[in-house]
C-alpha cells in the first residue's frame, strides 16, 4: 500500500506536492528541488503529464526517478494523448516500475498548448480511464478474446487511484455528478483544482458530503498579483478574490514570496477542518513548500 493511501486511511491531514518535468532531458534541477524541498515534507509528489498540452519529458520516467530517490510519486495520466491501448499499456509499465499512485485526468485540450496541430485523442474520458484501471486491477483489460470474454492479464497491477474536481466551477452540481461517476468507477482520493475562496470550497464540500473519499484541497501558490489576474481571466473554474490580489499588489517586491506563502497557509488553515489534506502546486517555487507547511501548522 502506498504511503499516501496509508496516511489518508490513518486519518492524517496529508500534504502532497507537485513537480513538472522539463522540456528537454535536463532532469537534475527538478530532481534536486524534489529531494531538497519535498522529500521530507510531503507524503507524495505528483508528476504532471504534459501539463497544459506543452510537450515535455514524460511523467512515468520522472516518477520512476523519484522512487529511486526515496520519494513516492503520484503518476498523473491525461486522456488527451493516448488511446485505450497506450493508456492500459502505460499503466502496466508504471506498475512494473513500482508506481503505486495514479491520478486520472481528462487533460487540457491540445489547443491550450504548444502543439496546436496535434490530434486530440480523448478515446477514454476520465471516468472511462478510472474504470479501465479498476478493470486491470481485476485482472482483465478492455479487449475481448476470440470467444468474446475479457482478456486475462498475466500479473495484475494494484494502484491507489485518484481524480480531480473543480470546487469553484460555475456549475458545481455538474462537477459533483461527474465526481460521483469517478468514484463509482474506482477513484479513491481527490485532489482539487486551485481553491482561493474557502467559502466556495466549503459549499462544495457540503454538496459532496455523500461521496466518501478523502479530498485534498488544491493550493496553487500565487506568485504575483499579475498571476492572480491572469488566473481570473484565463483559468476556468478558478477565482482569486480581489483582496488577495490587492495584498500581493501592496507587498513590496522583496516580500512578495513571503506574502504568497502566507496566503497559501491561510487558506489551508481555514479549510483544514473540512477536508483531508492539501495538494501544493508551487509551480517551480518548491523552496516555499516547507514555509507553507510550517505556517499552516502542519508540522
Amino acid at each position: 500500500m502506498s504511503k499516501l493511501q496509508q496516511q489518508l486511511e490513518a486519518g492524517k491531514f496529508v500534504v502532497t506536492g507537485e513537480i513538472g518535468p522539463p522540456k528537454g532531458t535536463n532532469i537534475e534541477p527538478v530532481l534536486h528541488e524534489a529531494e531538497e524541498y519535498l522529500k521530507d515534507n510531503v507524503a507524495a509528489v505528483n508528476v504532471t503529464d504534459i501539463q497544459t498540452a506543452v510537450m515535455r519529458l514524460g511523467s512515468m520516467a520522472l516518477c520512476h526517478m523519484l522512487i529511486d530517490r526515496g520519494i513516492e510519486p503520484v503518476f498523473q495520466m491525461v486522456c488527451r494523448d493516448r488511446n485505450r491501448l497506450a493508456l492500459q499499456s502505460d499503466l502496466l509499465s508504471a506498475a512494473a516500475l513500482g508506481i503505486e499512485n495514479v491520478l486520472a485526468l481528462t487533460g487540457d485540450h491540445v489547443v491550450m498548448g504548444d502543439h496546436v496541430q496535434a490530434t486530440p485523442v480523448f478515446d477514454l474520458d476520465s471516468v472511462g480511464l478510472l474504470a479501465a484501471i479498476s478493470n486491470l486491477e481485476a485482472g482483465t483489460d478492455m479487449g475481448l478474446d476470440i470467444k468474446g470474454n475479457p482478456n486475462k492479464l498475466d500479473g495484475v497491477p494494484k494502484f491507489f487511484k485518484g481524480c480531480c474536481t473543480t470546487p469553484c466551477s460555475p456549475t458545481p452540481e455538474a462537477q459533483m455528478i461527474k465526481l460521483e461517476k469517478k468514484v463509482a468507477s474506482g477513484a479513491q482520493f481527490v485532489q482539487t483544482q486551485a481553491v482561493y475562496d474557502p467559502g466556495a470550497f466549503e459549499n462544495f464540500m457540503k454538496m459532496i458530503e455523500h461521496i466518501k473519499v478523502p479530498v485534498l484541497v488544491g493550493i496553487v501558490l500565487l506568485k504575483s498579483a499579475g498571476m492572480g489576474k491572469y488566473m481570473n481571466r484565463s483559468v476556468p473554474g478558478v477565482q482569486v478574490p480581489d483582496q488577495i490580489i490587492q495584498r500581493l499588489t501592496d507587498a513590496p517586491k522583496e516580500d512578495r514570496a513571503k506574502v504568497s506563502v502566507e496566503i497559501a497557509a491561510e487558506i489551508i488553515r481555514q479549510v483544514r477542518p473540512i477536508c483531508q489534506g492539501a495538494h501544493l502546486m508551487t509551480l517551480g517555487w518548491d523552496h516555499c513548500v516547507p514555509g507553507i507547511i510550517k505556517q499552516a501548522n502542519l508540522t
Binding site: 486522456c79 488527451r80 485505450r84 481528462t106 487540457d108 485540450h109 489547443v111 491550450m112 486530440p120 480523448f122 478515446d123 477514454l124 474520458d125 476520465s126 471516468v127 472511462g128 478492455m142 480531480c164 474536481t165 473543480t166 466551477s169 460555475p170 456549475t171 452540481e173 455538474a174 462537477q175 455528478i177 461527474k178 460521483e180 461517476k181 463509482a184 468507477s185 483544482q193 476556468p236 473554474g237 477565482q239
Partner: protein, 234 residues
C-alpha cells in the same frame, strides 16, 4: 443522405423506462432509404411502445427532420399531442433528434444510431450537428450532442475547463457543450440523466463501414458532392 440503423428495441424501451406517455416522430427523408423511416416504422414503434404498457399520445411523419423550421410548423399544429407526452421518440439521424429537441420542451429519445458517412449533416441542418458515432446518447444528454458540442467529445460530463461565462477552455467563442447539456437537463427536470454511465466509444462505428462504402448509392452521392478533378498533365 444520412445513414441510420435502428437501435435494439430493448435499448429504446430502456431509455423510455420512466416515461409513461410517448409521442413518436418519424422522418420520411433519409431514414426511409435505410428502411427505418416512413409510416411502417411509425406503426412498428407505436406497437412496440404500446406493448411496453405506455400511452402513445400521437405521432407525426415529417419529410426532413433536419429542417428545424418545418419541424416547428408541423409539430406546432399538434402541440397538445406532443406536450401531453413525457418523452418524444424520434426516428432520424442525430441532427433530426436535436432539431426536435430544440423545438419541443420535452425530452427527446433517439430510436436510431447514425452511421458515419463522412460528416454529412442532412439536407437542411440548422445549428445541430451529429457526430455520426453510431452509438447515439441523445436520450441522456437532453437532446444535445456531446460528441459535437464538447471540444473533447466527452460522454460522462464536463471536464474542469468550463469558464465563468459557460465558455469552453478552447476558445471564448466556444460554449461548453456540457454546460449546455446541464442547463437543458435542468430545464427538463432530468438532471439524473447525467448520472448515467456512458461506456467508451466504439471507434469502428465512427469509421465509414465498408458495406456502405461499397454501395452504388454511396458512390453516386460522393461523386456528386466532389468536383470533378481537372485532368492532370503529368
Amino acid at each position: 443522405m444520412n445513414a441510420t440503423e435502428p437501435k435494439p428495441t430493448e435499448e429504446i424501451l430502456e431509455s423510455l423506462a420512466d416515461a409513461k406517455s410517448v409521442f413518436i416522430v418519424g422522418c420520411s427523408g433519409c431514414p426511409v432509404g435505410c428502411d427505418v423511416g416512413g409510416e411502417k416504422w411509425v406503426d412498428e414503434m407505436t406497437a412496440a411502445v404500446r406493448g411496453a404498457g405506455k400511452d402513445v399520445t400521437g405521432s407525426a411523419l415529417i419529410e426532413l427532420l433536419c429542417n428545424k423550421a418545418l419541424v416547428g410548423i408541423k409539430l406546432g399544429r399538434i402541440v397538445e399531442q406532443v406536450t401531453a407526452a413525457e418523452a418524444v421518440l424520434v426516428g432520424s439521424c442525430g441532427v433530426g433528434v436535436q432539431a426536435v429537441g430544440n423545438m419541443v420542451a420535452r425530452r427527446t429519445v433517439p430510436a436510431l444510431n447514425t452511421i458515419c458517412l463522412g460528416d454529412y449533416q442532412g439536407l437542411w441542418p440548422g445549428e445541430e450537428r451529429c457526430g455520426e458515432c453510431g452509438e447515439c446518447v441523445l436520450a441522456y444528454t437532453g437532446g444535445l450532442c456531446p460528441i459535437t458540442l464538447c471540444a473533447k467529445s466527452l460522454v460522462n460530463g464536463q471536464c474542469g475547463g468550463t469558464g465563468d461565462n459557460g465558455e469552453c477552455e478552447v476558445s471564448p467563442d466556444h460554449p461548453c457543450g456540457w454546460k449546455k447539456i446541464y442547463d437543458r437537463l435542468k430545464e427538463l427536470g432530468r438532471i439524473d440523466d447525467m448520472r448515467r454511465m456512458i461506456d467508451p466509444r466504439d471507434a469502428r462505428k465512427r469509421a465509414i463501414p465498408d458495406a456502405i462504402r461499397r454501395t452504388t448509392r454511396y458512390a453516386l452521392e460522393v461523386s456528386e458532392q466532389e468536383d470533378p478533378a481537372p485532368a492532370s498533365e503529368e
